[in-house]
Amino acid sequence: MLLLFGAFCSLTAGNTTLNVSDVPHDAGDALLIKWNLPAAYKDLTLAKADSAGIWQELNLSQEPVGEFTDTDLAPNQEYRYRLTAISSSDTVSFIKNGIPTEQWFYLKKMSFLIFLLVISFAILFYIWLAKQGKDLFIRRINGLDSMEEAIGRATEKGKPILFVPGLADLDDIQTIAALTILSHLARKSAEYDTDLIVPCRSSMVLSTAREIVKEAYQSANKADSYKEQSVFYLTDDQFGYVAGIDGIMVREQPAANFFLGTFWAESLILTETGFGTGAIQTAGTAQAHQLPFFIVSCDYTLIGEELFAASAYLSKDAQQLGSLKGHDFGKLLIILLILIGVVMEISGLHWFTNFFSPEL
């Protein structure tokens, strides 16, 4: 690192420093600037040279000893800093350069990595246990057990089933979770010969949903009754999509509605209209803010995690069920961590909490 030192005026004390160093274990986008001046110096100004070499002030400090982290820098580029300090008798000025560099590991993300690894290993361990043939108990989840009943009702009435895979695109895990549930529902509706309506908001979801429904009909040996047009696109617009679904609900009068995936403000427009048509409604989302509206206007609601557990639960596949045990291990671990954290905080030890609250 190139160091450039310049004092424009004479100094009264000896051990004055300005230090510019790379912040370790990061993406090379930050520099740490430290200074240490005799107490007589007040009115410190730190400035950085911009691309044209003009000094831009960064911050003002009254403390003669301090530090500042400059972020949002480009890696491997040289930056130049100037510190000006005024005392009653004189003005001093230092200039130093620094280069932020990239490293191969984010130290600040240590707790994140450990946490992710522990939970992942727990999930894999339980999947392995299930493979060994160990019987793993999972309690009943009402919202999921009722799904088949809802399809049965639609079959009795000779009415279709409506499945809305949320309003998010395929880059949202909730949409993918909803689509894996669709695969189970589509197979059931194929077995029962009940029509399925799947309006989609995005083309990627449309493509995936079509694959899934087609596959479900094939595996139920009903490939002939699969109608590609029953899975269709409406519009990418949030409320345009909702207007279209509302129209479908009042005109096709589906006997069972499923709203699974990501929903925003429109959730209540959908479920209230669906309630008006008298359908059995099942909703599920991890959007905490929309849950109250689903709770008050739907018959069954999958809350948060239940949406993600659904496909594993419905598949009744031992390996998939095993992974739910992994989630449960995570819950116990988190409860334990919170309790330890609270005790630590009460006893005035903050390192534990700090370890888990890095700036991510």
């Binding site: 793993l136 493509s207 519009t235 409320f239 345009g240 109250p292």
Partner: protein, 212 residues
């Protein structure tokens, strides 16, 4: 003419406003009209929007201006064209490759994001000292926060039947969930009524000039 068209636009807006409101009474030809126009117009709107604001600046302009520097963008372009292979049933399977890439990355990105913001940050935010000297209410609140979070998490525990002693924490968890749902519902009322006020302002002010 522009002034006439401006006023005409207001009437158009008012007409469609009433078309949608009429749905509250029941499904009717006006709603059907508005609904299909809405779907049609918005579908085309987003297509045009994506062409002008995503595909042009992020792909075509870059390739035209500096082809060799942006050659890597040919990969997503190729994947995009592979997606379009779905149109023909014979080539539909090709679209699985881009879909697989999208799903793989989405799953991983979601995993990281949710773990960071929904898991770790919430966990560490709950590691607090509940005792606040001098404020009984704050202390009570913090205890509720810790107990509620822990019992709430336990509510989702799948591995035990929720009966006997094991039912107690999950019962408390449900209480907290119910309070939270009620509170969020009540908190949202104001924002939702504002939407209606906004519409009425358009009708009464911009269109009819009844109010100032």
């Amino acid at each position: 003419m522009a002034e006439f068209m401006r006023v005409f636009g207001l009437y158009l807006g008012a007409f469609f406003t009433f078309c949608i409101f009429s749905f509250l009474y029941k499904d009717n030809p006006f709603y059907k009209l508005a609904e299909q126009i809405f779907v049609g117009i918005s579908a085309a709107y987003w297509l045009i929007y994506i062409i002008y604001n995503t595909l042009m600046p992020n792909l075509f302009d870059k390739l035209i201006n500096d082809f060799s520097g942006n050659a890597i963008l040919l990969i997503p372009a190729a994947l995009g064209i592979m997606m379009l292979m779905r149109i023909h049933p014979k080539t539909a399977w090709i679209s699985r490759y881009p879909l697989a890439l999208v799903i793989g990355t989405s799953a991983a990105i979601s995993m990281l994001r949710y773990t960071k913001s929904d898991l770790l940050q919430q966990v560490s935010a709950t590691m607090i000292n509940p005792i606040v000297p001098g404020s009984v209410i704050e202390t009570v609140g913090r205890f509720l926060l810790i107990i509620g979070t822990i019992c709430g998490i336990y509510f989702f525990y799948f591995s035990k039947k929720q009966e006997g002693v094991y039912a107690v924490p999950s019962k408390i968890g449900i209480w907290f969930l119910m309070m939270s749902f009620g509170a969020s519902f009540g908190y949202t009322v104001m924002a939702r009524v504002s939407l209606l006020i906004g519409r009425l302002e358009f009708l009464l002010k911009d269109w009819l000039h009844i109010i100032q």
